[in-house]
Symmetry: C2
Subunit: 406 residues, 2 copies
């Protein structure tokens, strides 16, 4: 596969737009995104596991059951959750988007992201949707506008697209996403929309999405909080002309592999742009009894507040890494664990067989000062391996979240 | 029961001392504590659930199996964990303490707290123990010196003592403790030593300790990290002269109730003095299906990074409270939840039946500016109720933990 430009509009037949409609007071910030396919799509979605689900999430869960969709409307600035009229507003948003696009409401998905418990300005969205529909375009600009419109505390726009061959046809896959707080395994406050022109059945599309999500978005954490609004949605309109993927086999594997790679990059972008983050932390646990145990331990490490604070301080405090593995719930022999810090600036082994090694503190500090820091924990229990991604805990995280509403 | 002075030395027959022996470079900070009973005691202990256990913890787990002990030696400044000679050093520390006190090694408990993976200066402890033994005294000063010696990043000394009647005799119970990071349900980096002159069998003492710990130390969180060194130890020497408690019944209930109340106060002190904390956060969930579910939800709230950051900002962002309950793993109807913030400055209902209420932001800010903030979440599932304690997430937490080792 090869990365290309174009984001959510890279695949054939997909258009997008983003505007400021008035959900946010700041007129310079887009707050409404619209994504549209000229042809009906197979659709699949994965949503927050939180018991408290925002109204649009509850609606989308029903909508994707049909396996078909053509459009996504999403606002930032308000989560449309926990208000007396949130369900009604989600339905209104869905109906309004469907009407301006001339498609059935049951093929229209809706998302909201922002503050919980404040009423959504549905009138602004109702007025904004026709404007956004007029601006829809199959272009990198359309993708950019939509990507900007779903950003909340993100500092960087998250867009990716790639091409790869399936059954002799060139397939394009692209997407946009937003982080950047309330990010935790089983998805955080993340929205991610993916589009592809691959021909694939709704069932196989969902299977591919679950596989990709399990080893990517479900392996990142910013702050341990799982939000009420997480949504990962993929639309596939079949315009690439490949033989439709309707079962497992080579084409399905090719598609799933490309999807997983793109989702990995997207997940890394989210973790790296976690609220206040200065470092992307990548933790790989290898030699665990199985992949599940490796994942559990790697998640504990990237979620450990103390490890995150140490990386912020560029402090090679590996005891916190071993400690986090120790309370993860996995049983293992601490005396079988080797820990190494690694970055573009160097490789620093700090622990061998569960015991501290002598190491050059200056060298370690230099290695940990890089934007991406890898924590490698190798153990002797088996062949299980997993990588999880997180970010450091900084003053800015506290600042951003100490006064988010005002 | 009535609180009194004297801490760990309040109960009859207990002596304590604290000195600087040289584990820490700073000569003005005590780093070695010694606690001694003139009479053999029933002993019970609860220790970290972390797979990675510090050497003294592994040794103490064996020691308390005998049900008898007379002394505790504890150092701060080094965790005595994950070094090639940690087990040997823990055994040396135990043998040296036993020798200077003239008691069997199997009746001597040892603890360490501080950095993981650096070699303990056992020579300094060996030289310090005879000096500490000479200073042992049955006095508030002895307790103070010991309490100071186990402090790490604690800003406040944690000492408590109380008297109550058991079987017609006046029983005294006291203790010292340290926090203040790596604190999470199932104990954090906490050390807590309790002494009592109550006559009680080792079996009943352990039962009482487990009951008290379950609803106190296991319900606090500072940062979600469970340390390698947590230890909660109680010694009971029987000098109060009450009829020995050897089974459940009124005396056992009286003793357990007093122990639970003292542990509650100690746990609150730990949470309030969490690293960098400005606010003690008390979350009570009521109306849950059962106590376990109430506890799970209350723990999720006080552990939520986003809720902790909001309280730091005195921001009544109740959506984060409901969100944390939602991802706790408990199934419930979000529309049955009422949320209220409460403090000495006022009571602010913010959510009714899962929906946001209009409230006075100024009043809310004022209420949340108090040192102790209560979060009350009432729901309609049953009679389950539980209270958990935590603290806010502040710039100082990040600062303290960004560079702890140096």
């Amino acid at each position: 596969m090869k990365y290309i430009e174009g984001g959510i509009c890279a695949a054939r037949g997909f258009m997008a737009a983003g505007i400021h409609c008035g959900v946010r007071p700041n007129k310079n910030k887009n707050d409404l995104a619209l994504i549209f396919s000229e042809k009906e799509c197979a659709a699949a979605g994965l949503f927050t596991t939180n018991q408290v689900k925002a109204a649009p999430v509850k609606l989308d869960i029903e909508t994707v059951k049909g396996g078909k969709a053509r459009a996504i409307a999403a606002n930032s600035g308000n989560a449309n959750a926990c208000t007396p009229d949130c369900d009604e507003n989600a339905a209104k948003m869905q109906a309004a988007a469907a009407a301006v696009l001339g498609i059935p409401a049951v093929e229209t998905l809706v998302s909201s992201t922002g503050v919980i418990g404040q009423r959504l300005n549905i009138a602004a969205i109702g007025e904004g949707l026709p404007k956004a529909a007029k601006l829809l375009e199959h272009s990198p600009q359309g993708s950019d506008a939509a990507a900007t419109a779903i950003m909340t505390t993100d500092t960087k726009k998250k867009e990716l697209a790639c091409v790869f061959a399936v059954g002799g046809a060139e397939v394009t896959l692209g997407g946009i996403a937003k982080g950047s707080g309330m990010i935790h395994p089983n998805m955080g406050t993340m929205l991610c929309y993916l589009t592809t022109d691959c021909a694939i059945s709704p069932e196989m599309l969902k299977k591919a999405l679950k596989t990709a999500c399990g080893v990517t978005f479900n392996r990142i954490s910013v702050d341990g909080d799982t939000s009420t609004n997480d949504s990962l949605i993929i639309l596939a309109n079949g315009l690439a002309g490949n033989p439709e993927i309707v079962s497992e086999g080579e084409d399905f594997m090719t598609f799933t592999a490309a999807l997983t790679e793109l989702c990995t990059e997207m997940a890394r972008k989210m973790a790296a742009d976690g609220e206040g983050a200065r470092h992307l932390i990548t933790c790989t646990v290898s030699g665990a009894a199985d992949e599940k145990e490796a994942e559990t331990m790697a998640k504990a490490v990237i979620s450990s507040t103390l490890t995150k604070a140490a990386i912020f301080g560029c402090d090679a405090n590996w005891g916190r890494v071993l400690c986090a593995m120790g309370y993860s719930g996995v049983e293992f022999d601490p005396n079988s664990v080797d820990i190494t810090f690694k970055s573009a600036a160097g490789i620093v082994p700090v622990c061998k067989n569960g015991m501290g090694l002598e190491f050059d503190e200056k060298m370690a500090k230099k290695a940990l000062s890089e934007p991406e820091v890898e924590i490698l924990a190798a153990m002797g229990s088996g062949a299980g391996q997993a990588t999880c991604w997180g970010c450091d805990l900084t003053y800015d995280y506290v600042k951003i979240n100490g006064d988010y509403r005002t």
